[in-house]
């Protein structure tokens, strides 16, 4: 595999919830890719489909979800190429990928660990399952992992239960579980949202240093632009089940191209930004998922919407220079540069 073939490549992914009240297109044509050793940040408001998109990579969707179209190509380091979207969610193949090649960290460290098993037991489970180590060897590996995630008193913690740990320690345990088999991809779904600010900073530092040491790729989901800037190489911004803009982190910060990205960034108090500006929030409400607006799904809230176009025609996905993408009519009119903002 050359440096440039992505580790994961999601193409035109669609996930639907078919409910009595109608169909919710939680993910509606998402395309994403992550290269080896790269950190991709996904940003978006609540309900924009971030979790559902990344969970598709592990086939860890709610029972009611239907993977309706698209492909999720995964290229494990041992070679080959698997379309995860085609696998049976309960089948052997996907199970042998989970945790072995793709690890996942969840948002709620409080409840994401089993309350009735010790930390050691929970870290050992994937080790024994995928690496086939014996009890003793697995326990040693678990201890190493706890040391790796800088868990205080790792020996004691092996036999501790989650309720005896603080939130930050639990999240460390979670990370240890996710990294147990040295996966080539780590998915972190808002791993710091439930933590206080100091702990959040510690966990972010930990993830960054682990990434440098182990070199795995990370998909990092967050609401918070500040956090992405810190950790990500590239960013994808999602709105209503679609990626509206993606590109290298510095470029996007410097020159956001999509009105939604701009609005989102304006709503984040940035260090160094002028103090007197009021913190803007995006006006309007997220549309009803059952009745998606016609045209560009953002036009009900977009301050730059072009009447007659944006409320009628679907916004196309436009490739910009420098590996950037944007989904907006403003760019289709003059493909070359786009309006100068900033």
């Amino acid at each position: 595999m050359t440096e440039d073939t992505p580790l994961v490549e999601i193409t035109d992914l669609g996930v639907e919830f078919r409910m009595r009240e109608g169909v919710v297109r939680a993910v509606d044509g998402v395309s994403l890719h992550v290269r080896k050793g790269e950190v991709l940040g996904i940003v978006g408001e609540s309900g924009s489909g971030k979790s559902i998109s990344v969970r598709s990579i592990m086939q860890l969707l709610p029972k009611t979800a239907v993977l309706s179209r698209g492909s999720v190509l995964f290229r494990p380091p041992c070679g080959g190429e698997i379309d995860i979207a085609k696998l049976d969610r309960k089948g052997k193949e996907i199970r042998s990928l989970r945790s072995r090649h793709i690890g996942m960290i969840f948002q709620e460290p409080m409840t994401a660990l089993s309350p009735v098993h010790t930390i050691g037991r929970q870290v050992m489970t994937p080790i024994r399952l995928h690496l086939g180590l014996g009890k003793k060897a697995a326990r040693d590996r678990a201890r190493e992992l706890l040391q790796l995630v800088q868990m205080p008193r790792p020996d004691q913690m092996l036999d501790a239960y989650p309720h005896e740990l603080s939130g930050g320690m639990r999240q460390r345990a979670m990370i240890a579980i996710a990294l147990a088999c040295n996966p080539s991809l780590l998915i972190a779904d808002e791993p710091t949202t439930a933590l206080d600010v100091t702990t959040e900073a510690q966990i972010l530092d930990l993830l960054k240093s682990l990434q440098e040491r182990l070199g795995m790729a990370i998909i990092f989901i967050t609401h918070n632009f500040g956090v992405v800037a810190d950790i990500a190489d590239r960013i994808a911004v999602m709105y209503m089940g679609r990626v509206v803009e993606s590109g290298p982190v510095d470029d996007i910060f410097e020159k956001p191209q999509h009105p939604y990205t701009r609005a989102l960034m304006a709503s984040v108090p940035r260090l160094g930004a002028e103090r007197r500006r009021r913190l803007t929030t995006i006006p309007g409400m997220v549309p009803d998922p059952f009745e998606l607006p016609k045209g560009c799904s953002f036009h009900t809230r977009c301050s730059e919407a072009v009447a007659g176009t944006c409320d009628r025609l679907d916004a196309p996905l436009i490739d910009l220079a420098g590996g950037r993408n944007v989904r907006c009519h403003l760019h289709s009119q003059n493909q070359t540069g786009g309006p100068d903002v900033g």
């Binding site: 199970r95 989970r98 945790s99 409840t111 399952l129 579980i177």
Partner: protein
């Protein structure tokens, strides 16, 4: 853990004392005392008894003493010598009468408890993991119906059905005439053909309730994030379900084993009367009807003690299975 155990053990002592007081009150409740009943029994047999003798009997048994002294004599007799008093009706020590029957009651109750779990837990887990499937509906309906059937009615209906369809008289522990014979293969078969009725009766009512509890708890647990974590580790559905949520979902239920026992024993008492089983039920009923109060009181005492021990055991089991409890 040890501290929890000690505390829990310590708590059961006042419970035991309270139970013994209740049993003693029940013994004392009917008008008159043992002496009156004794004399009445003698008169019934044709003896003439003068009031003086009644008084003597009263003094002899300490019935003229204050009530707390009587209680002390009664309870210390039981605890120190295993002496439960005298059954008037059978004219022999209560302890000679009760143990065999208690044993059978306990055997039937515990067997049906195990049967209940064996049936209800897998069904409850299945119903929850396959919510709204056809079988889930079937089990739910069964649970509803089982909830409305009192044990004695189930027993009556089963007896009737067994008689009219299988032409079997399933009352009693074995067929008439088998009792005198030594144990043999035929006798075992015969007992088995009778014993299933009380087991089915008791297990039905228990199962119906338990399926509901297990299903509801499982549905709660299956939505918890740690289940997803377990799936994310690449475990198979079976290992995830049985290794994680089931263990958590069973906790509240383990803590109610203690309560299942009283209701099972209650159920057994009344079922046994209907089915004419040689367990505590019919004997207790007869003792109560004949105001053979030492016998009746002893039964109530021992049954209650059993359930207190049952609750204790279930609390210990709960502490073993749920680390969060041990701290308490």
């Amino acid at each position: 853990m040890l501290a929890y155990l000690t505390k829990r053990l310590f708590w059961s002592i006042p419970m035991l004392i309270a139970v013994s007081i209740v049993a003693f009150i029940i013994i004392q409740l009917p008008p008159g005392d043992y002496a009156t009943a004794y004399v009445a029994e003698l008169r019934h047999q044709g003896d003439t008894v003068d009031p003086l003798m009644e008084q003597e009997i009263r003094v002899h048994f300490g019935l003229d003493k204050p009530i707390y002294v009587q209680y002390w004599w009664w309870i210390s007799g039981i605890v120190l010598h295993g002496d439960f008093g005298q059954s008037l009706d059978y004219n022999m020590p209560v302890s000679n009468l009760i143990w065999a029957r208690l044993g059978l009651t306990l055997a039937i109750s515990i067997t049906s408890l195990l049967l209940t779990w064996l049936i209800a837990i897998p069904i409850g887990v299945y119903s929850a993991t396959r919510q709204y499937s056809a079988l889930d509906y079937v089990f739910t309906i069964f649970g509803f119906i089982g909830r409305g059937f009192p044990e004695f009615l189930t027993a009556l209906v089963l007896m009737w059905l067994a008689y009219s369809w299988l032409n079997m008289d399933v009352g009693g522990l074995m067929s008439a005439g088998m009792e005198q014979q030594p144990w043999s293969f035929a006798k075992v078969i015969d007992v088995a053909s009778h014993i299933w009725v009380p087991l089915v009766v008791l297990a039905t009512s228990g199962t119906a309730g338990l399926i509901r509890v297990v299903r509801a708890n499982m549905l709660d647990e299956l939505n918890k994030p740690y289940v997803e974590t377990a799936y994310a580790q690449g475990l198979s559905e079976r290992r995830v379900v049985w290794g994680y949520p089931v263990r958590v979902a069973l906790n509240p239920f383990i803590s109610t084993i203690g309560w299942a026992l009283p209701s099972l024993i209650s159920g057994d008492v009344i079922t046994a009367v209907v089915l004419n089983l040689p367990t505590t039920g019919p004997l207790l009923l007869r003792a109560l009807k004949n105001q053979d109060m030492y016998l009746a009181g002893s039964f109530i005492l021992i049954l209650s003690v059993f359930t207190i021990i049952g609750t204790l055991i279930s609390d210990i089991l709960l502490a073993l299975s749920d680390p969060r409890v041990r701290r308490g």
